[in-house]
Symmetry: C2
Subunit: 226 residues, 2 copies
């Protein structure tokens, strides 16, 4: 049974990493597609969001199965709960990637603006944060997790820069289409900032998993509350 648990735990980890890799790849692809105004590719990723949702449900079911069958405690329990939470973050990132793709479709019809490079740079950081947070989770590397949390400040600073540039450009803009395009870019910057927030959440789970919080077994068992 212990060996079965270990096998299932390993499979759970692999499935979660595979979902993370998929989401990270899609983020990169959607940003590149938005840059080259490739509506077909954007529509493809929007259509295929259900795959991410299905993977999330599958991983959650795996977690529930492990909890019900193996009733893990201590670090094993914290591991499964951390996967439940990370799984949730990954699914939300998948939703945000779809939001970016939808904005990309509208940007493809809008005047070109030269601040797209900022968004690509933000996307690169967000992807690196996501990848590092999962590496930190797998290797229980608390200092790597701390580095992810620090990088979130970098991403936030870039988003602020984009927001300031948008305000300035909007004041110079002479058409509604230009203003609309600038606001869409601002929206993409916010989306990328949120992806960074999710990566930060994952990094925070690493500290939780490796250091643990006190689960008050004894008090609860000894004296019924009420």
């Amino acid at each position: 049974m212990n060996q079965i648990f270990m096998r299932e735990r390993d499979r759970l980890k692999e499935d979660m990493l595979s979902l993370a890799g998929e989401v990270e790849m899609r983020l990169g692809d959607v940003l590149k597609a938005a840059e080259r105004r490739d509506s077909e590719s954007l529509l493809n990723w929007i259509d295929r969001d259900s795959e991410i949702d299905e993977d999330e449900v599958k991983i959650e079911e795996e977690c529930l199965k492990i909890l019900a069958l193996h009733q893990p405690v201590a670090r094993d329990l914290r591991f499964v709960v951390a996967v439940l939470k990370i799984n949730n973050d990954l699914e939300r990132i998948g939703d945000i990637v779809v939001n970016i793709a939808e904005k990309g479709l509208r940007l493809a019809e809008a005047p070109a603006i030269d601040i797209f490079g900022w968004l690509l740079q933000m996307g690169k950081i967000a992807r690196e944060m996501l990848k590092s947070s999962l590496d930190a989770f797998v290797s229980l590397d608390v200092s790597k997790a701390a580095a992810v949390i620090l990088r979130d400040d970098e991403l936030d600073a870039m988003k602020k820069k984009v927001a300031e540039t948008v305000v300035q450009r909007v004041n110079e803009a002479d058409t509604g289409a230009m203003t609309g395009a600038l606001l869409l870019m601002h929206g993409v910057a916010r989306d990328l900032e949120r992806i960074g927030d999710h990566a930060t959440n994952i990094a925070e789970d690493v500290a939780y998993l490796s250091e643990g919080r006190i689960v008050r077994h004894k008090r609860a068992a000894a004296q019924p509350q009420g």
Copy 2:
């Protein structure tokens, strides 16, 4: 033991509802404070976000304790996992409320704009969605949960309306301060939309809790995977 479990489950439910009520109240208060440009009140809520974070940690610890001690299965297990997820949503909503308060501080220094009424209306819907989603959870009322999910479309439509108005007004704006204020309002509308998304997530958990998904006990127990 079963009675202890039931008591702990009830306490967990109460703690979660209390956190939900607190978050909902703060959202209402922050929007009202932003409307009357009450920076002191806004700062107060920003400072006190740590209370929400502490409640979230406490509820998560309760969940872990229950899982470790009582090793619930079937519907009881799904209940605890649903609380873990909802707890997460509530904490994120708390963060978004802080984001709104921070924007409110900047709006307090900016020129007044008459679209604030839209934001109050969006806030009202978001609060009602949050409240209904938790009512639906407590009473396992799937049709109430479905109504929450439908209301999210209403909220999204209002957000679109705000975005369109912002684009239009920005084109008429003649100062950077006015443009900045309009973009902040657009940001608040997006924040409220995200709160609606979290309420929708909670409503979706109700369907999951009341109908359940198949947790494949037998196959996993009978044949080790590899």
